[in-house]
């Protein structure tokens, strides 16, 4: 079965540094998402992306965050100046339809640790 790939699996960074989390969605998918999960808490929606622009974003997704699809295959999440509370597992997901009749495929996540 096709899968969403995320790299790196673990990322450690110092507070205030910029990080870029990378995702390769399934090749024919058009809709892309980032979610995060702080340890022991629920999975939270960050942003959805379609046709090279943000479709929806949550209140978590403030000016520190940005997303990009730089080359038609990668989908990146950038955190400009990381804070301790950004430590979480970040999941990328993709689907080929935005409607309700297709499931999201999730990557295996990037564990971000901000020190």
């Amino acid at each position: 079965e096709p899968e969403v790939t995320q790299t790196p699996s673990h990322q450690v960074t110092q507070m205030g540094q910029e990080v870029i989390l990378r995702c390769v969605p399934i090749s024919n998918h058009l809709y892309f998402y980032w979610y995060r999960q702080i340890l022991g808490q629920k999975v939270e929606f960050l942003v959805s992306f379609y046709n090279n622009e943000i479709s929806e974003k949550s209140e978590i997704f403030d000016d520190q965050f940005s997303v990009e699809r730089p080359d038609g295959s990668n989908f990146t999440l950038k955190i400009r100046s990381t804070k301790l509370e950004d430590s979480a597992m970040y999941f990328c997901a993709s689907s080929d339809l935005t409607g309700t009749n297709e499931k999201l495929f999730f990557g295996s996540g990037t564990q971000l640790s901000v020190l």
Partner: protein, 112 residues
């Protein structure tokens, strides 16, 4: 806004027994899907089962089945013949054209 509620933070079941995980949701939409995702210690998100809101028949996948009560906005997951490998966090999720939202999760422990 759509909300998904899992009222059981933790559940426990004896191996080979049956357990039911609860999920309720709040929505004004008529077209949506419901999902259960399993998150083992590796923290991957693995799709367990999904239910189309327009279908009255409850979805089943091997030992996993749902009890979908649309009027009550309830979507419980039943795991039959529980196995040690079923131990994980289980997340209920609601998906519509507005996107997908998750419940807070239920941690399932399976006792040998």
């Amino acid at each position: 806004a759509q909300t998904v509620t899992q009222s059981q933070p933790e559940m426990s079941v004896q191996e080979a027994e049956t357990v039911t995980l609860s999920c309720t949701y709040d929505t004004s939409e008529s077209d949506y899907y419901l999902f259960w995702y399993k998150q083992p210690p590796s923290r991957q998100m693995i799709l367990v089962i999904r239910q189309e809101a327009y279908k009255q028949q409850n979805a089943t996948e091997n030992r996993f089945s749902v009890n979908f009560q649309k009027a009550a906005k309830s979507f419980s997951l039943k795991i039959s013949d529980s196995q040690l490998g079923d131990a994980a966090m289980y997340f209920c999720a609601y998906r519509s054209v507005r996107g997908m939202r998750f419940g807070a999760g239920t941690r399932l422990t399976v006792k040998p």
